[in-house]
């Protein structure tokens, strides 16, 4: 089947199998390999992408559900924005990192979330086995502070 959606700001038309996960379409169909498969069952968050601005596990989203919607992947984030995470040691092996960056960006774009949730609660859907999380949390705090007046 053919679907049309917006990918990183550009309209795209792709042919997908009804059984294809959004993760497969991005990685193997469109060659956007920044989005990683860590577990394939929505536990680890390595495949996190934005779907209409909300972070989702792309391994749990059938591709056809992206029809008519906006998908944003790690590739759309300008490297220049990532200094705070770079400096804090937010990445080690890098396999969880693209998912972490997408969720972190969601938190940064929606500071109101912090009125009801801690950073550690908001980031709990992204497993990382290397950093012990301090590098991620410290980097995200610094990233959010960049926006403070």
């Amino acid at each position: 089947m053919e679907i049309t959606f917006t990918l990183n700001g550009e309209p795209r038309i792709v042919e997908v199998d009804p059984a294809d996960r959004l993760l497969d379409t991005l990685r193997y169909g469109l060659g956007l390999t920044g989005t990683k498969e860590g577990c394939g069952e929505g536990e680890c968050g390595a495949c996190t992408v934005f779907l209409d601005g909300l972070p989702v596990n792309s391994c749990l989203v059938p591709s056809y559900q992206a029809r008519g919607r906006a998908v944003e992947t790690v590739e759309a984030i300008p490297p220049g924005e990532l200094d705070a995470l770079h400096a804090s040691g937010a990445t080690q092996c890098g396999a969880c990192t693209p998912g972490v960056v997408v969720t972190a960006l969601w938190v940064r774009r929606n500071p109101g979330l912090l009125a009801t949730h801690s950073l550690r609660e908001l980031m709990a859907g992204n497993l990382c086995r290397c950093t012990g999380y301090d590098g991620i949390i410290d980097g995200l705090e610094a990233w959010i502070r960049e926006d403070a007046p």
Binding site: K36, G40, C44, T91, C93, A95, A124, R129, G132, D134
Partner: protein, 728 residues
């Protein structure tokens, strides 16, 4: 300096093996044993599949010896007539469609005449379950110091304890993967791995070909922790066998559940202590028995056992020590290398036992440790004299101060008296970890490093040591730049490709920064000398000299080399297990503060302090990341991570029901370093990667013990286990 490849990872541009687009690629899959032990009667290929579309490989396609070459050669690449564990590889399939491979695997039936498996390493095997030697003992090692029996008889107090630890899955976030193809008669594999030259050795043995027809290239590696030390050798062979038969590239990528079910895990352990002490708490004698579950083949169990027993006595002075260790065969997938390599298991036991001794004697656990920590000039269980300038008591004092140990203890007593449902406790562990290969191991590795001057005047560092998240690229860049007096941008780290880099040993054992980094420094010195540069020459003159060399010698390159020379102070006797087990130890004290909920039996870690002496810290951010990551991984082992077994293999092979810590499960890890430079390590550094794993579980278990007044003897301390312990 920030991580060299950091932005590439943050932006998702870093290419891991499954990210590599390859034309004409086939997808591989593995047919596995459905039974823990038995004879293979038949492999049936179902009629619902057009098998002519598939490439099928079994043991008959192996040109050389059917074994994964390591310490011994008992593990087949593909089982031929017998299987020894569930999921053991029996045959391989490849097809252009990944989905077709998945469907076809369900249509292959391996028919096994089952034999009785031996599944519990703690039990003596019945005669019909003996499968290695005449006793299933994969390795037996012993350390003896002083007069154990006499000292036990003369000890005023003897304290006993039996401690058990469970298996642990690595959960590197990138599952194992390999891509193989043949090019101009050279079998080439790229994939996720820690030890490319182990793969070369495995290929020479099983494919029976010369080194110059084997090329192994490390792809970006998404975490290893030991899980990509030995396992990739067999998997790379699988991909290669398929590629050779298909005459096409083959990708073999495990998904998470296959990875968790079939790959190595941390060795389960049972450690028995019998300790004689005087009334003041001085250790008079340690009699320790270590038992490891090795799984179905020898693999690395002998060396894991070695490190386990060397660390089993803890960082304490004791004149009479006997440590008897055995690694036992069971019909489980082989247990393997995992951060700490046996030392976390035995130091969980000794550090829990120290608190038990303190309780028995009515001595504060801190005082008991102060009395027994090795002083300058004291010696370890193997008789290694410790005179490294480190004040181990000061390390402990600093951790206690940072944690406000006394203040918290007092506040907890007050809190606990006012709360029936929640109890708080604080616990500590003092511990050590030897860096580098044990004893003469580094001599056998005979590591070599090259540093070349490139035509554009930059220098290229060539080693076989990989970046897997721990920071090798950054550390080597910094070390070379500092040594050569040039900006880091002038240093390039060569891709780890065995066609291009010398064998500087495996990326394991906390050896890369300390030992290989030191060789990088020496190779830089050698490059300077070859270029005729004085020791103090700056980066500009280096660049000039390199480009000048290339103009004068267009067909050649200036090459600095260094080969490992064992530091003269290391004197080790492999036969008696006496002497200097390691060139250097890292020393640490960790303090955990916990709250146990007596309604749910869940343990929350409220605060964690990690103070360690690791020689010179090379890069503060990377070093802190190693400690924090190691601590959190070990918190998982201590509290959450439990493998459930079926027929000897992991049944809960999913992240849905094998829980690793999330951000919400752990507190900030407060890290502090004390630095006493080690003269034989790069810029004074000692190994750092594994140390943080060793002290976490005992600190947490000791804190839980204090909180609820129980005496835990096994981990993980899941709510279920804790409930049982408290209601026992």
């Amino acid at each position: 300096m920030k991580r060299v490849e950091g932005l590439s990872k943050l932006t998702g541009r870093e290419l891991y093996v499954d990210d590599l687009a390859v034309d004409d690629v086939l997808w591989g899959g593995t047919v596995r044993s459905p039974a823990a032990r038995g004879r293979i009667r038949e492999v049936r290929f179902g009629s619902g599949v057009d098998w002519s579309e598939f490439v099928v490989v079994d043991h008959r396609d192996i040109p050389g010896s059917n074994a994964v070459f390591l310490i011994e050669d008992d593990q087949p690449v593909l089982a031929s007539d017998r299987v020894r564990h569930l999921h053991e590889p029996v045959a391989l399939l490849a097809h252009p469609s990944r989905h077709a491979v998945r469907r076809a695997l369900r249509e292959v039936e391996v028919v096994i005449d089952q034999e009785p498996p031996h599944l519990d390493y703690r039990l003596e095997a019945a005669p019909d379950r003996i499968q290695y030697g005449n006793d299933n003992i994969l390795k037996h090692l012993r350390i003896e110091k002083g007069h154990v029996e006499r000292a036990l008889a003369e000890s005023p107090v003897v304290v006993e304890g039996v401690y058990e630890t469970g298996a642990q899955e690595h959960v590197y976030l990138e599952p194992q993967g390999m891509l193989a193809w043949e090019e101009d008669g050279v079998i080439t594999v790229t994939g996720s791995m820690q030890c490319p030259y182990y793969v070369v050795d495995a290929f020479r043995f099983a494919l029976e070909r010369e080194k110059d027809r084997i090329r192994i290239i490390q792809a970006a590696t998404g975490g290893g922790f030991g899980g990509k030390e030995e396992y990739p050798s067999g998997m790379a062979l699988h991909a290669a066998l398929l590629a050779l038969k298909a005459s096409r590239p083959v990708k073999l990528i495990y998904d998470r559940s296959e990875d968790m079910a079939v790959t190595t895990k941390r060795h389960p352990s049972r450690v028995t202590h019998r300790t004689g002490v005087d009334r003041d708490g001085r250790l008079l004698v340690q009699d320790i028995e270590v038992l490891l579950d090795g799984g179905a083949y020898v693999t690395l169990s002998p060396v894991v056992l070695s490190r386990a027993i060397i660390h089993a006595g803890g960082p304490y002075q004791c004149d009479n020590v006997r440590i008897d260790g055995r690694a036992m065969l069971t019909n489980s997938p082989p247990f393997g290398a995992f951060r700490g390599f046996g030392a976390p298991q035995t130091q969980f036991a000794v550090e829990r036992h120290m608190d038990r001794i303190a309780g028995r004697l009515g001595i504060d656990p801190v005082e008991l440790r102060r009395t027994n920590l090795i002083d300058a000039g004291g010696s370890t269980a193997t008789g290694q004299v410790i005179d490294d300038g480190v004040d181990r008591v000061a390390v402990m004092e600093r951790a206690l101060e940072l944690a406000d140990y006394s203040g918290r203890r007092a506040r907890h007593a007050e809190f606990n008296s006012g709360s029936h449902t929640r109890k708080r406790g604080i616990g500590l562990a003092t511990f050590f970890h030897g860096a580098g290969f044990t004893g003469a191991g580094e001599v056998y590795l005979d590591s070599v490093v090259h540093v070349a001057g490139l035509p554009d005047g930059k220098v290229e560092v060539r080693t076989s040591n990989v970046e897997m998240g721990q920071g090798t690229l950054t550390i080597f860049t910094e070390l070379a730049a500092a040594r050569l007096g040039c900006p880091p941008e002038e240093v390039v780290i060569a891709p780890v490709d065995t066609a291009r880099v010398p064998d500087s040993g495996p990326t394991v054992a906390s050896r890369t920064a300390m030992i290989v980094g030191h060789l990088v420094e020496e190779a830089c010195d050698d490059l300077r000398t070859r270029l005729g540069l004085a020791a103090g020459a700056d980066g500009d003159s280096l660049k000039e000299a390199i480009t000048g060399w290339h103009e004068a010698n267009p067909a050649d390159e200036p090459l600095g080399q260094a080969r490992h020379v064992q530091p003269p102070h290391i004197d080790w006797d492999e036969e008696t297990y006496r002497g200097d087990a390691y060139g250097a130890f890292g020393w640490a004290t960790y303090v955990a503060d916990v709250e146990v909920d007596l309604r749910t039996f869940a343990t929350e870690v409220r605060d964690f302090v990690a103070v360690q002496e690791v020689g010179k810290v090379l890069n503060e951010t990377l070093a802190r990341g190693q400690i924090q990551g190691g601590v959190v991984q070990a918190l998982g082992w201590a509290l959450l991570e439990e493998c459930k077994w079926r027929d000897g293999a992991m049944e809960n092979a999913q992240l849905t029901n094998y829980m690793i810590p999330t951000t919400a499960d752990v507190p900030p890890i407060r890290v502090e370093f004390m630095e006493v430079p080690y003269p034989h390590g790069a810029a004074g550094a000692k190994g750092i990667g594994e140390l943080p794993f060793d002290g976490v579980a005992p600190a947490v278990a000791n804190a839980v013990a204090e909180a609820v007044g129980c005496d835990p003897d096994s981990i993980p301390l899941t709510p279920e286990r804790l409930m049982e312990l408290i209601e026992r």
